[in-house]
Symmetry: C2
Subunit: 241 residues, 2 copies
Amino acid sequence: MDIQRKDVHNSNIPVLCQACESRHRGVCGALTNDQLLQLSQHSTRRTVEPGTELVGESLQTKSYANIISGVVKLSKMMSDGRQQIVGLQFAPDFLGRPFRQENGVSAEAATEVKVCSFPKAAIERMIREMPELEHKLLEQTLTELDEARDWMLTLGRKTAGEKVASFLLLIATHAFPDNESDSVTYDLPMSRTDIADFLGLTMETVSRQLTKLRADNVIRIVNNRHVIVPDLTRLSERAGF
Amino acid sequence: MDIQRKDVHNSNIPVLCQACESRHRGVCGALTNDQLLQLSQHSTRRTVEPGTELVGESLQTKSYANIISGVVKLSKMMSDGRQQIVGLQFAPDFLGRPFRQENGVSAEAATEVKVCSFPKAAIERMIREMPELEHKLLEQTLTELDEARDWMLTLGRKTAGEKVASFLLLIATHAFPDNESDSVTYDLPMSRTDIADFLGLTMETVSRQLTKLRADNVIRIVNNRHVIVPDLTRLSERAGF
DNA sequence: CGATATCCTTGATTCTCGTCAAACCGGCGA
DNA sequence: TCGCCGGTTTGACGAGAATCAAGGATATCG
């Protein structure tokens, strides 16, 4: 412990944070090395299995977290069980809403997820001291709002085929944010049922549309989860753009 | 001009702001009287007709605004013309996104709208000086995000009948935020076509569902726009709650 | 190795909602 | 007063997605 502390102090950046995306694109980018050090004293990393509930619908959380890797799904449910996934979060997104109680949204690990979590109180104190941190949170919230509204267009106005193509495109662009080429290969972070809940469709319809995209050589699928997109332009045409 | 300035100084609150909702529930609540005065020097009020474009899809805006009264609709459009309304804004919401360009969302007056607008630069300077102002913006953005996600559930998982009931309920609660009783009366702020674009339906389906709600005595409609809801509980049952 | 479970695909049928078309209604100007 | 006009309602029909029901594929476990 003492040794680790010394290491940290020497390099001036906490070891835990050195390779972390949150320090660049995420909220931690707002912190000085000293503040990072201070926060990292209270932060803990953990890895959770797919299906783990990270934030309960009503369950008051005692901590916030940054996503280090993996995909988190945010969903809402109606009293009769109908479900809608209202957002996906990727590294280095911030999980939790300072100064707010949750609003009927539950967060669940879609894949294996690594998070770096801190106590509620520590974050809220640092926010009060550092306007820059709040600015980062506003930035992320605006991005989430844009994404939510994009998805509303998908949910309200696209056909089943366009919806499924839109989903594949969404994952492609988030899995490789700065992909320049026109082809990508990746694993779907969730099951057909989850995809259906994200698109406002049934599992069967999702399956049929995937089959159709495959038949038209827009994608190839290996082992149900592994997707190969030879031509992103063609896929985005199928998504309605 | 000199006289007005003196008046303002005497009362310590700019006349324009004295009766304004934004000073209580809106972003201006973050400002001291002096700051309010400073901002009000640059602010102008105007009234626009239904259909007026307030923020263009790509059009870079030079100013921000608070909504004083009326309803603003935010919408997105696909290249082939399919349209989706992604949000409604009411007084005292803040219009515009400091430090961000617009994201393919256009804002249009749904009803007659009164706004109080300020130059972009003035707001951005004040935000930098006043963390509290940014905090208010974060609050509003989080609220909009919650509303967007609620609506995603509506778009993705509700039936046409539930959607229309949800819309009536949304307007009822926003027109009378703190209505205690179980009955309300109000005017719809938009046409059947707009309602359809908000719900991801066609005009005809909206009309049919309204007819059904009327036939079942859940609502009464006068002159196409005027709605009477005798029992909000019954309406919210129809909305899927 | 076969048995079971889970997830996914495919097929047949049903039903909700979209499309197309006509009629209705209140307002307005000629 | 009439006829026109935009917004709305209503009807007939069809397409697209949901539902119901089997039938594969893959992995896990005895």
